[in-house]
């Protein structure tokens, strides 16, 4: 139970799951920060991205191609959802959330119709073979690769947000959307862009994640809940918070599943309840 190899394995499990959570939660939290929408279709975007990734990877055996296709298809879907549906209820908190719930119903059900109900995984030909071996510790390279992708995405997001003009516009939009639109920025298209980027991150998570855990109907709700817990703990709208929350929840989840499987679900909500009671805005959230 406390052998070093076992502990190292669980830490790696927690970190790789946390990496997957970060890919999901960063998109969700960025969209919330700018648009004040909790996108309930985020899990459905993950699901759609995962299925498309698995199919393309099965056809070509190329993970990069699978990821690119999945991201493009999901980004186009998200673009349509944003421009055709969400724009009509802009600024109305509740209808926006409810609309994304409706979208989630439709996407998840159409996925079931197209891809069937069986659990699907990335074919092994598309994943990274082999395992890291240090003494008694054996750990698949693929999961370490997922951690790497999440770190790269995290650094990329931080760079874009702090060093580029686009990032400056987004940050200004978070602070005061009236002023930024008065300065000649078409905020409606910034919103659309952010929504599409968030969905693309979910699709990336879906494709890469399907090499770690099966993609099947119902998974959209599970990943959405994990992502929600992460951003509630980290603070809505904060990418740093999403990173810290992801690692925290990933580790807690891994150790809980290993030590107290009967309460595994319970353990991730306990920290959330604590954060809500002690610091309702989350660890890195701003006060409203």
């Amino acid at each position: 139970m406390f052998e070093p190899v076992f502990l190292a394995q669980q830490v790696l499990n927690g970190l790789s799951f946390g990496a997957l959570l970060f890919l999901l939660a960063s998109g969700l939290t960025l969209v919330f920060g700018l648009m004040k929408i909790v996108n309930m279709a985020h899990g459905a975007f993950y699901l759609l991205g995962g299925y498309i990734g698995v199919v393309i990877a099965g056809l070509t055996g190329n993970l990069l191609l699978a990821v690119i296709t999945a991201v493009i298809v999901v980004a186009v879907t998200a673009f349509l959802v944003e421009v055709v549906l969400l724009r009509f209820v802009r600024g109305q908190e509740l209808p926006e959330v409810l609309l994304t719930i409706g979208v989630s119903f439709v996407i998840a059900d159409l996925c079931l119709a197209i891809f069937g109900g069986d659990p699907q995984n990335l074919p092994t030909s598309a994943t990274i073979p082999g395992a890291l071996m240090i003494g008694d510790l054996i750990y698949p390279w693929y999961r370490i690769f997922v951690i790497g992708v999440a770190i790269a995405i995290g650094i990329g997001l931080a760079f874009v947000q702090t060093k580029t003009r686009i990032g400056a516009i987004v940050r200004a939009g978070v602070d005061d959307r009236e002023i930024i639109s008065a300065m000649g920025v078409n905020i409606a298209w910034v919103f659309t862009g952010m929504f599409v980027v968030g969905a693309g991150l979910a699709a990336l998570g879906g494709t890469i994640g399907s090499g770690m855990q099966s993609i099947l109907p119902g998974v959209q709700n599970e990943v959405l809940l994990y992502a929600l817990v992460v951003i509630i703990i980290g603070g809505l709208g904060s990418v740093t918070g999403a990173a810290v929350g992801s690692v925290l929840i990933g580790l807690i989840d891994a150790f809980a599943k290993a030590w107290i499987p009967e309460l595994a679900y319970f353990t991730i909500f306990l920290p959330m309840a604590l954060v809500l009671v002690l610091r309702p805005t989350g660890l890195f959230g701003r006060t409203a």
Binding site: G91, L94, V103, V106, D109, I232, A273
Partner: protein
């Protein structure tokens, strides 16, 4: 105004007569069972409707409150306890669960409230799923029989109908009491109510306890009806469907929950035998309602009728509450 009230009361009376006469139309047990399912769903939806319509707090966790109550009944029946004890236990569990929900959510509003209730609901789902020594795990608890007198389908239908009328009346009374008026005040501007000296959190907790109790009653009715409870009854899908019902029917209206529950249950049970893709159908209906008929069926029909008669829409149609409170930063509106 008086004439409109008369028309409304007349319509309510007519609806009640039809519902009372349903078993005498010679309908099959299947139809009666479906009618009971609709009424039970309507009780549950009315608890969400009360909180959402008057309190402006849209909950995504009420399915799990009903499930907790149903699990209490299931556990008690497996221990061989009689039906009075089952009811008491269900009520006790409901009160405790609602209190926990209320405590965690009373300082939040809007989207945050929605997410907290969602998360607590998932917690109950997780417990139902994993704590198999009490809940039977994935298989749930089956063979939960209703008390002996309620076995016949038509008797149970009348029992459910009675409870539906009672809870709807009770929620109407609460909603029209000073407490209900304060809740609507909170919904419209929390900061103003606070500056008037109201203890906002306390009011929210109270509203949640009332709503949760009704949800628990619905859970009790449901488990006696289908004699079975499983984790899926506590799942997000259930709670989401409840919100769908409330919005479809018309949030904040008296009969909205019944109308919404009828649509959703019929789509789920009847349409699903003809069309495989009923979640798509439901999702599309939901999207269309949000885009074009935010007030729902019960809120939109009177508006359309009024328009046809050449009058403008009345000053404050009940269904429009939802749209007025959606501004991105309501707290910022200092000037009235």
């Amino acid at each position: 105004m008086n004439r409109r009230m008369l028309v409304n009361i007349g319509l309510l009376g007519l609806l009640l007569v039809v519902l009372l006469a349903l078993p005498y139309f010679g309908v099959s047990n299947f139809v009666l069972g479906l009618a009971s399912t609709i009424l039970i769903a309507a009780v549950l939806a009315s608890s969400v409707n009360f909180l959402g319509g008057d309190g402006g707090m849209v909950s995504l966790g009420h399915g799990a409150i009903a499930a907790a109550s149903a699990y209490a009944v299931g556990w008690a029946s497996r221990q061989g306890l009689d039906s009075t004890t089952q009811v008491l236990l269900a009520l006790g569990v409901t009160l405790v669960v609602s209190f926990i929900y209320g405590l965690l959510s009373m300082r939040t509003s809007g989207i945050y409230f929605l997410m907290v209730t969602l998360a607590v609901g998932m917690l109950i789902y997780g417990l139902a799923f994993r704590l198999s020594s009490v809940t039977g795990g994935e298989n749930g608890i089956s063979g939960i029989a209703a008390p002996g007198d309620l076995h016949e389908e038509w008797i149970y239908y009348y029992f459910v109908l009675g409870i539906f009328v009672l809870t709807t009346a009770a929620l109407w009374v609460v909603s029209n009491s000073p407490f209900g008026a304060s809740l609507r005040g909170l919904r419209d501007s929390e900061s103003r109510m606070r500056s008037l000296g109201y203890n906002v959190a306390q009011y929210k907790l109270g509203a949640f306890m009332i709503s949760g109790t009704v949800a628990g009653i619905a859970g009790l009715l449901a488990v006696w009806h289908i004699n079975f409870v499983s984790p899926s009854s506590a799942g997000v899908e259930r709670s989401v469907l409840l919100v769908v019902m409330v919005i479809l029917g018309g949030i904040g209206t008296l009969l909205g929950p019944l109308i919404g529950a009828s649509i959703v249950v019929l789509v789920e049970n009847v349409l699903s035998s003809y069309v495989d893709r009923w979640p798509t159908a439901l999702g599309l209906i939901f999207i269309l309602v949000i885009l074009f008929a935010r007030a729902g069926v019960a809120g939109s029909v009177p508006k359309v009728l009024a328009k046809l008669r050449g009058r403008g829409p009345s000053a404050a149609p009940p269904g429009d509450r939802s749209s007025s409170k959606g501004a991105p930063a309501p707290e910022r509106n200092h000037t009235p």
